[in-house]
Symmetry: C2
Subunit: 208 residues, 2 copies
DNA sequence: ACGTGTGAATTTCTTCACAGCC
DNA sequence: GGCTGTGAAGAAATTCACACGT
């Protein structure tokens, strides 16, 4: 195994996807950028950009800055998104539906290749060209046959923990959950939360 | 008052909504909790819980811990969610639709009271009992008549910046955006981003 | 001259450890 | 005895500032 995960602070890892968002915009205007410009764009200091990137290698050139395409490739590689990631959607209610119709994942190398639900009225329904909702009872087979390691969890709060445990048992290693519930799972499972209420409550602190 | 916004680090503010999520679960089992239990639930140290809360007041009792209802009220008050917040939804595509049908906001004191879009085919459509999609041209009136200060932005990426600026011009103070675009707005405007691709890219770093 | 990469300095955040109160 | 609130200590993150390569 490589020295790759020696120990990069998570706070730095969390910024890398934002660098990619910025780079994709800057690329429209120029071939290269530099730490000052990138920082201004994202609201970080130039020093921080350089420090962050220096954790992973020497991607810039003195006097010139960073080649945008090259830096993008490097960050893609660091984040392991230099490949296709197949995902399963668990829960096909409102949010689940919206996700299935959202094209932003595929554009980024993520692909929802299956969707499951426990509601008999939904099972068998065809959502788009590719996807027909399957029974959640088939989840084990779906995960193993397609070698899926990421799940998007959009089920009601009261069953989120239970279903998450099932997903982990069947081999899921990363979960992006929309359920407003703190999941208690083994530490080697990566969980990211999307909870608009938490975001709104963060906003209101600063309003009056 | 008050010394309230003297200068609480944002990193602490960001944790308060999570405390609320935890408290709402713990409240089902007991009247009181303590820093150890709360920390274990959220994955924080007990010391951090106490330090965080001590920034805002003395909410606990030695030997006993924290009364859950009381602590909840206090945090609600700190976050300014001891009231109803009216919001406008801007953009009624996939995600916008899902949000309008999502009941989790109202349960938390947030209410979408109007929705707008620029698509003539959508304007006039009734989404649920309460809400009929209006024209984005009416946004100024909607905001001022209803004294709205929070917007949820679910428009295509290429128009997000432009529309966000319009919202700010008409009095919006906080934006929760789902568009995968870094918004450049005055510093006194609070922006929170929900970007599932960024969350997924964060996850994949730790997978292989 | 420009801008990176990086030790050193500084600031911020977290944990420790304990006095004090229930 | 149990648990908070808090200064002090320690760890981590950020910024500074500059040597060096282009």
């Amino acid at each position: 195994m490589s020295t790759k995960h020696q120990e990069i602070p998570d706070i730095i890892v969390a910024r890398l996807p934002r660098y990619l968002r910025a780079l994709s915009v800057l690329r429209e205007k120029a071939e290269t950028t530099n730490s000052k410009e990138l920082g201004a764009f994202l609201g970080y200091s130039a020093a921080q950009i350089r420090k962050d990137l220096s954790q992973f290698g020497e991607f810039g050139k003195q006097g010139t800055g960073y080649n945008i395409d090259f830096l993008t490739e490097q960050i893609n590689s660091i984040l392991n998104i230099d490949r296709e990631w197949k995902m399963v959607l668990v829960g096909c209610g409102n949010i689940g539906h919206a996700i299935l119709n959202y094209s932003g994942f595929m554009a980024s190398g993520f692909q929802v290749i299956a969707a499951v639900d426990s509601d008999n009225d939904l099972i068998g329904k065809k959502i788009n060209e590719q996807i027909t909702i399957q029974s959640i009872d088939d989840i084990e087979q779906i995960i193993s046959e397609n070698r899926i390691s990421i799940a998007m969890l959009t089920v009601p709060a009261n069953v989120a923990q239970e279903i998450a445990e099932k997903l982990v048992k069947f081999g899921i290693k990363g979960i992006l959950t929309y359920a407003p519930v703190i999941l208690s799972l083994p530490v080697n499972i990566r969980v990211e939360y999307i909870d608009p209420v938490i975001s709104l409550q963060h906003i209101t602190y600063y309003l009056d």
